[in-house]
Homo-oligomer: 345 residues x 2
DNA sequence: TTGAAAGCGTTACCAC
DNA sequence: GTGGTAACGCTTTCAA
């Protein structure tokens, strides 16, 4: 493997000149720049990442912290990861995977070893054990998800309150006067993931405003529990039932569960919900679906992280950004997308 | 951040002793070892990854190369990634994500910059453009998927031929005398992913052996195309139809498509197939499903890579390993798992 | 506009 | 058993 020394020799310049040609951190005469670039090309030189990190104290790597919990919707996770990786590359950074297999020790490790310059944490919970760790580490970090105590942290997420509202609005627009919100998983009920609460809040407010009645029926992620919840709803409702869910897993199962009970979704019952995986939308044609815009959320997460990393400011105040969902697919109609991000605080 | 120099000072030893205590590469007296370990603990010392990589010429990182093609089943991909990351950590290595956004240039980059010591490539195609690149780079690499020309490469995959056989055997056991294999996507038809061909080969052989008739109907990943294929099958078949597919996307859609046509899967029609995402199995209760054992495949991939990296042998012959699938879920019965990996060549 | 040289924090060889 | 020290390949200050 050629080194910058080799390049310097080949171009007849000093090693520092090679470095400056690559970084552009100081003016170089056209003439020598061309010579150096030619040598680089010729030798197919690539700087050694370790040496560069050592000297510059920057690894050009960002750590992506994933919770591999059984209740995660893997397809959605992957969606985020892909966008994050692509965006990072566009900023000339790479992604190091940090699974929470090692728990928050993994965080201390990757930061302690200076393997990465910043962190993105996914699926952040209401009271996330990773939060005190990150606070202590004083490393640039962005949280995807809104913890209960987000003071001083940089958080971004889909706006679930707005999503709840939108779902109920869709419900009302489809002439339902009552509906049921169904489905989140057992470990989430204890407000572990507070997006559920945010969703309910928005939905309830809209229900009150629009004069529709709304009930909540919890379910776990296994099929039996969802079936039981559906049966309870059907029994207790009058008219065409409407099912609303903020949970991708529930949404994926709902249509077939309804069909098994002789209800044709979209005709005998409405299914309204939202999920972060656009790919899954093709499977939910009978439903009205909001796009949680995972691409936007993850892209912004990366961009916020970069602004933090550049500022190099130890404590930049904290930021809370909510991305409004989009009605992407409305059962039985052509879909009119209406983008517009927004941020607060 | 404390350095090994600080540790040395605190423990009253030389820096090299600290290094040797950490690596265990030379005998250290009990006494000094304890002192050094105490100092490490005390200062919460962690070695700097960049410096370590520079000096040892090993980054302790493995590059995971993902194809983010639209036709990938993201949930399955994620499944693999999680296992690979966990296994790598168990060997004291980290995972760097290499999306093929940059194409095979990304490979040249991560290897050239010496960001990683080895590569795992996922979703390897029959004629994969990454193969000549990896060959040239002469870096330890494991392919998940079997390319047409696998000579000298280290490949591992699920045994799709066996899977095809098993599916047909399941079909015959359910008293079908004819069935149809349905669904792979347009870009895959051109033998891009040859697992389809392997699956068909196995299925055909079994069909011949068991005296059942079998036809192939291609479909794309969009719902309309699968529906058309199903309709064609229903029209042309006599008796209870059996649908077999090696494609997770198709399997997920099949049950509801059948129901829309008044066929209750498992009763009026059989759905038999296999997919790499165990999570999805809960959604496929009406089907007979083989587990492609993504956990086993990815675990072995990592282990093979480590043996290559240790050998440090530039050209270790090549290896082809096929993991037999497992009948995990048989419609309407309790499932008797029958494990046993195997390898060839 | 360019070069020389001092680090950056490890590892590993050579002495003792 | 242990310590000194020369790499490792880059960045960046200081001089010119």
């Amino acid at each position: 493997m050629p080194t910058s020394k080799d390049v310097a020799a080949a171009a007849g310049v000093s090693q520092s000149t090679v470095s400056y040609v690559m970084s552009g951190k100081r003016p170089i005469s056209e003439k020598t720049r061309l010579r150096v670039e030619a040598a680089i090309e010729q030798l197919t030189y690539q700087p050694n990442a370790g040496a560069r990190a050592l000297a510059s104290r920057k690894s050009q790597v960002i750590g992506l912290v994933l919770p591999i919990t059984p209740e995660a919707h893997l397809g959605s996770l992957m969606e985020f990861i892909a966008v994050i990786a692509a965006t990072a590359r566009r900023h000339d950074h790479d992604i190091l995977l940090v699974t929470d297999e090692e728990g928050s020790q993994g965080l201390e490790r990757v930061v302690g070893q200076q393997l990465c310059d910043g962190l993105i944490l996914m699926q952040v919970e209401a009271e996330d054990e990773r939060i005190p760790v990150v606070r202590k580490l004083r490393v640039p970090a962005v949280f995807i998800g809104i913890p209960d105590d987000s003071a001083g942290l940089n958080c971004i997420d889909a706006d679930f309150a707005r999503a709840g509202e939108l779902c109920v609005e869709e419900m009302a627009a489809a002439a339902h006067t009552s509906g049921v919100i169904i489905g989140w998983r057992p470990r989430l009920v204890g407000s572990r993931l507070n997006y559920v609460g945010r969703f309910l809040g928005g939905a309830d407010a809209a229900a009150q405003r629009l004069g529709v009645s709304l009930s909540h029926v919890p379910a776990t992620s296994d099929r039996g529990s969802i079936e039981a919840a559906v049966d309870a709803c059907i029994a207790g409702m009058e008219g065409k039932p409407a099912f609303v869910s903020p949970d991708m897993t529930v949404l994926e199962l709902l249509p077939r569960i309804l069909r098994e009970r002789g209800l044709e979704p979209g005709k005998d019952a409405s299914v309204i919900g939202m999920g972060p995986a656009p790919q899954a939308l093709i499977e939910l044609q009978e439903s009205t679906v909001l796009d949680l815009q995972p691409r936007l959320v993850s892209q912004r997460a990366v961009e916020i992280l970069f602004s933090l990393m550049q500022a190099d400011n130890p404590d930049p105040g904290g930021l809370l950004e909510l991305i409004p969902p989009l009605v992407t697919h409305r059962h039985g109609t052509a879909e009119p997308p209406v983008p517009v991000p927004q941020s607060t605080r």
